[in-house]
Symmetry: C2
Subunit: 365 residues, 2 copies
C-alpha cells in the first residue's frame, strides 16, 4: 500500500508541538512499514480506522494476531489485508509497531520489535510506569516522546481522557488534589464485552435469563465496580491504581492525591467521569472555561440553558474529548475547587487515536 499524504491537515488541533530537535529517534521512512499487534480486537479495529481517517502514510501494513485469527482478512482503505500469526520474526523490516493485545503480549514481543528496528507504541500497561518509557498524551506532554528508546507507552483510557481535560487548567493553575468517579463503557473490556452488553440486554428485554461469560456480573441495565483485579490490601482495583499512577505521571505531579472510584456502566464505547479539581488557589469558573475552550483535543459542551453537557452518545466516534458542567465545587468553601464532567471515546482518545497521534509525532515530516 502506498497512500502517502501530507499530515499537516490531518491533526489540526494537536498544537502542543514537540520541537524537531533531531535528537530523538524518528521513523525515517517516508512510507513506513506498520505492524498492528492485536489487529482483530476492538482497539485493533479502531487503529485501522484512525490510520485510514488520518491518512497516515503506510508503505506496508502487517496485521498480527493470535494463530486462531490467522488467515482472516480485515479491510483497510478498500483492500482486504490478511491477518498473520504473531511470532518473534513478525517485525522484520517494520518501522512502526502498534501493540494492542494485552500486557502479556507486549512484554513478550515488544523487545523483538525494537530489536528489528521498529519503534513500538504500546497500548498495554506493560511499560507505562517504566521510567525509560515515555507515557504520552500528545496534547499534554508531547515532548516526553523525545526521550524514547524504542518504546512509547499509550496510557490507560481514563488517564488519557482525563488528562486532556485537566492539562489546560493545570498549566495555568497547578492541581493539588483530584477526585474522580468514572462511568466506563464496555469497550474497555474488549469487543467481547461490548457484544455481551448487547446480547444480555436483548435477553433481558425478552425476559430471558443470560449467563455472563466475559464480565463477572450481569451487565443489562446494571453497573458494577470495575472488573480489574482487586488489590485486597488497599481495596483498590487495578484500573483505579493505573489511573492514579498514570495521571500523576502524565501531568508530572508525582504525589498528586487522587480519590478514585471506577465503575463499569452499560454504555458501549465512551467513558465519562465526574471530576473535582482542587487548585493551589481559587480559580474563577469563567477563566477555567476560557482555558478549556481553546485547548487542543477538547470540545466544550456546557450549555446550562439547554441542559446539554458531555454524554457518551455524543463522545462516541468523536476525536475530541467533551468537557462541561464546569462549576464551582460546593464541597470546598475555599473556592479552590472546580467540578466538571468529561466524556471521551474509549476506543479513540482512550486508545487508538492517542496511539496514532503519538505515531504521527515520530514521522519525519
Amino acid at each position: 500500500m502506498s497512500d502517502i499524504l501530507d499530515l499537516d491537515a490531518a491533526a489540526p488541533r494537536d498544537t502542543q508541538e514537540a520541537p524537531d530537535t533531531g535528537a530523538f529517534r524518528r521513523i525515517e521512512a517516508a512510507a513506513p512499514r506498520v505492524a498492528i499487534v492485536g489487529a482483530t480486537g476492538a482497539v485493533g479495529e479502531a487503529l485501522l480506522d484512525c490510520l485510514a481517517a488520518r491518512r497516515f502514510p503506510i508503505g506496508e501494513l502487517r496485521l498480527l494476531a493470535s494463530p486462531r485469527s490467522a488467515g482472516r482478512t480485515l479491510p483497510f482503505r478498500g483492500k482486504e489485508v490478511a491477518v498473520e500469526a504473531l511470532t518473534e520474526r513478525s517485525f522484520e523490516g517494520v518501522d512502526l509497531a502498534l501493540f494492542s493485545a494485552g500486557s502479556g503480549i507486549s512484554k513478550r514481543y515488544a523487545a523483538a520489535a525494537v530489536q528489528a528496528g521498529a519503534v513500538v507504541v504500546d497500548n498495554s500497561s506493560a511499560f507505562r510506569m517504566d521510567p525509560d518509557v515515555p507515557l504520552v498524551v500528545p496534547e499534554v506532554n508531547a515532548r516526553a516522546i523525545e526521550a524514547h528508546r524504542g518504546i512509547i507507552a499509550n496510557p490507560n483510557c481514563v488517564a488519557a481522557i482525563a488528562t486532556v481535560a485537566l492539562a489546560p487548567l493545570h498549566r495555568a493553575h497547578p492541581i493539588r488534589r483530584l477526585t474522580m468517579a468514572t462511568y466506563q463503557a464496555a469497550s474497555g473490556a474488549g469487543a467481547a464485552a461490548m457484544e455481551e452488553l448487547r446480547q444480555s440486554t436483548a435477553a433481558y428485554l425478552r425476559g430471558e435469563a443470560f449467563e455472563p461469560k466475559v464480565l463477572p456480573h450481569p451487565y443489562a441495565f446494571n453497573l458494577f465496580s470495575h472488573n480489574a483485579e482487586m488489590d485486597p490490601e488497599s481495596g483498590y482495583n487495578g484500573e483505579e491504581l493505573k489511573v492514579v499512577a498514570e495521571t500523576r505521571r502524565i501531568l508530572d505531579v508525582p504525589e498528586l492525591p487522587v480519590s478514585i472510584t471506577c465503575i463499569r456502566v452499560p454504555v458501549l464505547r465512551a467513558h465519562a467521569m465526574a471530576l473535582s479539581v482542587e487548585f493551589d488557589a481559587p480559580v474563577a469558573v469563567e477563566e477555567a472555561r476560557a482555558l478549556l475552550e481553546g485547548a487542543p483535543g477538547l470540545r466544550l459542551v456546557d450549555d446550562r440553558a439547554r441542559n446539554h453537557f458531555p454524554m457518551p452518545s455524543e463522545a462516541s466516534g468523536a476525536d475530541d474529548v467533551l468537557v462541561g458542567r464546569l462549576r464551582r465545587d460546593l464541597g470546598d468553601p475555599s473556592g479552590r475547587t472546580l467540578a466538571l464532567f468529561v466524556a471521551g471515546d474509549q476506543l479513540l482518545k482512550g486508545a487508538a487515536l492517542n496511539a496514532v497521534q503519538i505515531a504521527e509525532r515520530l514521522l519525519r515530516r
Copy 2:
C-alpha cells in the same frame, strides 16, 4: 378491607425507635383509612406493594389519581380497588394520606388532607425544607417525626439512600465533608421514563431510530447530567441542590460542604453512588466496617476477593440499602476520608418503603 396484623415482625431492622412519649399526633385508628395520591405512578405502585408486604393495617384504602386514571382498578391484597379522581373532598374520613404525585399536587391538596384529619406523608419536594415539616429517614432521625403538625416529608431518593449509609458513621465520627457522584436509575423520572429506557434500548438493538419523549436525551446505552431544572447561576441542577439541602437536614449538619454530581444512567430502578466521606479525625476502615455491618436498613456487600460490591441488579427489589467498597480514600493523605459505594432501590428506600416506614411510626401500637 381489614387485614390488621401485628407490625412488630414487619420492621425488624428499624432499631432507632422513637420513644412513645404520647406527645405527638399518632394515628389513633387500629385500622386506619389510607389514601394514596398518585396511585397509578411508579411510586404509587411501590407504595401498594410495600403496604401489602409489610402487612400495614388498613381499614379502608382510597386510591386517588388524575381524572384520566379514574375508573381504572389496581390490585391490592388480591382484590381490585377502583381509582378515584383526586378532589379536595377526597380526604373525608382519611387517617393517613400518602402523597406521591409531584410537588404541585402536594402543595394544592396536602392542606385539605390535614384539614380533614389525616396525617400526610409527602413524597414530593413541596415541604421538605419547611422548618415546620419533619424530613425523615426512620433509621437516621426517627425522632423528628414527633414534631409533625400534620405533614411529614419523605426525602429525595438519593438523600434517603445516602443517609442510611452515612448515619452509622456520622453518629460515631462527625462528618465534615462529603463528595457524591450518583448513578441514577430511570425510575426517579417515573414509570414513563422506565418504559422509554426499555423501548429506546430495544430500538437501538434493532438498529432503529428512537425520538426521546420523556427524557431530554437519548437513553439507550447512554448517560447524561440529571434532567432536573438547572440553576443557571450556580450550574447545579435541582436534583443536586435537593440532595445537598436534604442530606444536611437529615444528618443535622446545616453547613456540611457537599460536592455533588447527579447523573442519569441506563438502569431501571436502583440508584448507586460513589461517596467520599471526610470525618473530623482519622477513622480506621475496620471500625467503619463494624459500624455499617450492624446498622439498620443496611446490608454490607464488600467482598474484595470476589470483586462483589453493591450493584443495582442486587439492590432492585431489596428493602436494604447495599453498602461496600469501603476503603481509605487515596485523595486525602490525612487518613480522615473514607470511600464507599452504595446502591439502593429508588422506588423502595428511595421513595415508597421510606414513606411506609414513616407511616408505621405513626401507628399506635
